[in-house]
Symmetry: D2
Subunit: 348 residues, 4 copies
Amino acid sequence: MTLSFTAALCADAEIESFLAPQAELSAMLAFETALAGAQAEAGLIPAEAAAAIAQGCAAFQPNEAALTAGLFKDGVLGPSFVKALRQSLPEAARPHLHFGATSQDITDTALTLRLKPLLAALDTRLAALIEALEALEHEQGGMRLMAQTRMQAALPITVKDKIEAWLLPLRRHRARLAALAPRLLVIQLGGPVGSRAELGEAAEAVAAGLAARLGLGNAPCWQNARDNIVEFGATLALIAGALGKIGQDAAILAQTENGALKIAGGGSSSAMAHKANPVTAELLVALARYTAGLAGTLNQALVHENERSGAAWTLEWFTLPPLAVATGAALREAMGLVPRMRFQPPTL
Amino acid sequence: MTLSFTAALCADAEIESFLAPQAELSAMLAFETALAGAQAEAGLIPAEAAAAIAQGCAAFQPNEAALTAGLFKDGVLGPSFVKALRQSLPEAARPHLHFGATSQDITDTALTLRLKPLLAALDTRLAALIEALEALEHEQGGMRLMAQTRMQAALPITVKDKIEAWLLPLRRHRARLAALAPRLLVIQLGGPVGSRAELGEAAEAVAAGLAARLGLGNAPCWQNARDNIVEFGATLALIAGALGKIGQDAAILAQTENGALKIAGGGSSSAMAHKANPVTAELLVALARYTAGLAGTLNQALVHENERSGAAWTLEWFTLPPLAVATGAALREAMGLVPRMRFQPPTL
Amino acid sequence: MTLSFTAALCADAEIESFLAPQAELSAMLAFETALAGAQAEAGLIPAEAAAAIAQGCAAFQPNEAALTAGLFKDGVLGPSFVKALRQSLPEAARPHLHFGATSQDITDTALTLRLKPLLAALDTRLAALIEALEALEHEQGGMRLMAQTRMQAALPITVKDKIEAWLLPLRRHRARLAALAPRLLVIQLGGPVGSRAELGEAAEAVAAGLAARLGLGNAPCWQNARDNIVEFGATLALIAGALGKIGQDAAILAQTENGALKIAGGGSSSAMAHKANPVTAELLVALARYTAGLAGTLNQALVHENERSGAAWTLEWFTLPPLAVATGAALREAMGLVPRMRFQPPTL
Amino acid sequence: MTLSFTAALCADAEIESFLAPQAELSAMLAFETALAGAQAEAGLIPAEAAAAIAQGCAAFQPNEAALTAGLFKDGVLGPSFVKALRQSLPEAARPHLHFGATSQDITDTALTLRLKPLLAALDTRLAALIEALEALEHEQGGMRLMAQTRMQAALPITVKDKIEAWLLPLRRHRARLAALAPRLLVIQLGGPVGSRAELGEAAEAVAAGLAARLGLGNAPCWQNARDNIVEFGATLALIAGALGKIGQDAAILAQTENGALKIAGGGSSSAMAHKANPVTAELLVALARYTAGLAGTLNQALVHENERSGAAWTLEWFTLPPLAVATGAALREAMGLVPRMRFQPPTL
């Protein structure tokens, strides 16, 4: 159930599926399995323990309510999750679980593990949207259209000019995501205070093994250096902003007085039967402004006190998920809008 | 289910209960019942129609999925809601439902109708928090405490000085909510374009009757003048900000090196058994910064195009509910924190 | 000189005159004079000292460059200002200057002392703008105008309906400023750590005397409880938001395709001679969005660490002045825009 | 003169020198000279005209007050600037000035032309700061330091661990600026509506020539696709955020009760002689939060109406310059802070 009916407008089932508690638990279990595997390989824990941990992770039935209670008590899921998982293991394996790791390692790595398919999903949508716009350009690009500068009719351009201006940032956004992925999609492994001291000389081998097993990049500890996360948030807002611009243009071009664009399936009014409201276009504008705000707030989370800030980290948790979901919603809505758009020949 | 595990930290069951779809539907039905009643009283529609509408509203079983589909199509719940409700009525009553009203009337009035208990709930929590702080002041107020200015030990003050500085804004916030309530908790009635033209000379009587029946204030149409809503958002952020300041103070006073404050039930660490983390205090800081951002974004929704802006209104929907819920969460957490706080005598 | 040419668009000479270094110095000198006067009256310092301080303040020639260097060193003007002023005094008076006060007392009181005429200036402009809109309404109110909902032509309203929707929030803003003034325009007097301990039993008398001499309200120490300041910032953004809405409406109504509004003196284009751009209307939209952002950021300054936070206070200094100035600019521009607006009869 | 004394704290003379009116005028003149040169080369205008334009640009004495008046009238400097420059030319050259260009071309290109040295200046500072931190690491890296997680003492790390966590994002920021430069530092050339139609078949040659002459990259028209600009703003906030984190750490480590860090030249208090306030560290925190807010607001400027939005563009002008300047100030302050920092051996 959503917070309100209207919350559905900034929701997105697919993007949420990567962020949902169930997905987080799966990623946390994958982390512990991979960590134990890498540590066994590095000779830090017995191979039997790693096998038992892998089995235990596969069989573990977490209690979501208890974990949420633990989250409120500890400020992070890690302690209650690890404790419950440990209790489910054979006694001999227990001391080897989560060895040399801390809650932030499991939490941050479980995040990037899910950001990987999330990024891929966004990129797939960007590609599909670009394709839809290119199809529209192919079909209607030669039509003349009155350019609007500063809200005033200016001089004629073509539909192609208009659509190219929409496409350029979208193509750059794909490149941005591709450039960001290698620095964002990396493991977090630092141990209690980020120094990996508990892992001794095997630290680098364990990190490399963990990364390889999870399909993530290897990287030094970034527990309190959140620039890649915040850059991702900024990129999300750039994407949603480009879609908001398309929405704003569409709403203006579809104005009754303008009529250069028809949007099929326009919204109806409870009082005025003649209305065909550019509902999706307006929604794109709202999503752009909403994500702009969230991205700014996420920036505040860069000010991390010392080795780990509960306050800054929690602020990141409050802002990054809705930012990703709203951007996903904007992409989905834009993908639905473009095929309903049809430019109209100038009437002169 | 929440967006993510950590979304629980900025959730609040009671505040959400006022915003949830079910509560919105009840409020929408209350609006139609009251509108019909007021219109019958004013002689605009037959008394029988009003009675049938009241009965129909009491019996109506809305289809949430269909309404959400309507929301995406029309950008607002009104059209699909009114259509479904109308179909459930006896034929003779149908033309009299929603007479002279528009989707925004039902949506905005259904909002203020629920903001009334929401405001009351916040005020109850503020009062309880003030009481808890006063109790702590009563108990420990005479103890000496080293003041901290610019993060440095300054000169001794008392616990009373500290707690009074926390209390002052909270008391002002209660006054702010009380001053805001009469201008915020009012009906919206404007008809399709805000002019109430469809209601003719009976417009003012209908408005007065609608307000009286709903227990809201009467007011001119405010469909595109959202300052009271945005002021409410600003007040919410002021409240959460005051609580963030308490949290920030508590986290600093409870530092290992400082020790002027003990917080019972501190968070545990998955790696360091000796830790007692000021988890709730940090959460209050995060909630303050989160609500600060949302309040700023809500301000963007003041730029309403003409008689009704789908974009600005939707942005309001995206920001006001989480702002109210997060502020509620902050109050709840602060109420839980204060009784766990105990100042420690200075050790010299 | 401005930061850039375009910075002139969010500048305002009158509002800046209240915030400028020279005005701050005058207010700081007024604070020291009034403090000494109140302390002499309360028997805390000799009357001769108070007289010498008053004379010294009247004659003091501050060195702005040295004060700015002191600001960077101390994070606040107080220490270098008080030191320089003290050295300018006869030796006997020196120990009595700034007695029991701290830098924050002089800084915050010098702020509210200048916010008093600043608020008055804003209110004067609001009143003038309301008058200009009422004049336009008087002149053109009866003209028919097509309402626009969700960017689509809806049903006819009148120019009066349109202008009333602009006026309502402006009238409320005047009431907001009037309600805020008594809690905002108050002295700050706390001494080094906010407890007024140095003033002993005379503290309340000194506070009352200081307030009376400065024409400000009396109030308990608010050094780290900045809700009134932040509420003022929120009110500024509400004002600018209401003007942004007027600007947005004007820009849309003046669209070439719409033509319901003519704005005299429209902007020219370097490339298109036929253009008459709604430059002022667009500027109002930009100022609304800019102030919305600043107000959100100002909210972050509520999280004040303990008795005085250099970080939070400095953030307030970065955001409140441009917020006030931009709001002043928006009022000035709106006052200039309204007389240039002329609604056009519908052409049908 | 600054807006207020405290505005000096977020000012930066070097960065401002790139944004100041005089620098903008120089860049605008460089644009017209380069455009005429490229157009002569492409055979669009006579070589004599290009030479006369180059001479005229070299000799032109702009009237800043008249240009500012033009800015208010036209919403952009271009029209009044081009008109005045044209009048200063020999009659035969006049029609060839600014041929096929529009105000946005000159304004945006004059911006990127100045962002080039601005980026270089930021990078130079980043490199110097990295060097200073590496020197500190070299000197004190081996010292033990108590890690702080969630504001509580955790386990010992080394000073090297601490400084590396500060360095990692700074190094990434240099890479970000280097990756951004080729897409940001490009010409804008679109003509009145962005289609370059006035330049005919020579358009691409003129664009290439303009870019080469100005030392900028060539790029398609980006008048209403501002993602590179907004990405630059986001990068600035990332930089300032990383510095705010250093400041936050320093302020906490330098707390009286902690004492792990001494900061030489600490701020004095007007009331407490024993204080040594971490003024610069707090300033870095304030600058981080200020720039975070500005970056969020700049994102709102992505929603550009059609071919050119006066509102969105003006919002960009209000936010990007202070964002760049505040980031420059943060870098300068951090560069000044690091050499004053000295970690203290743990006292046990």
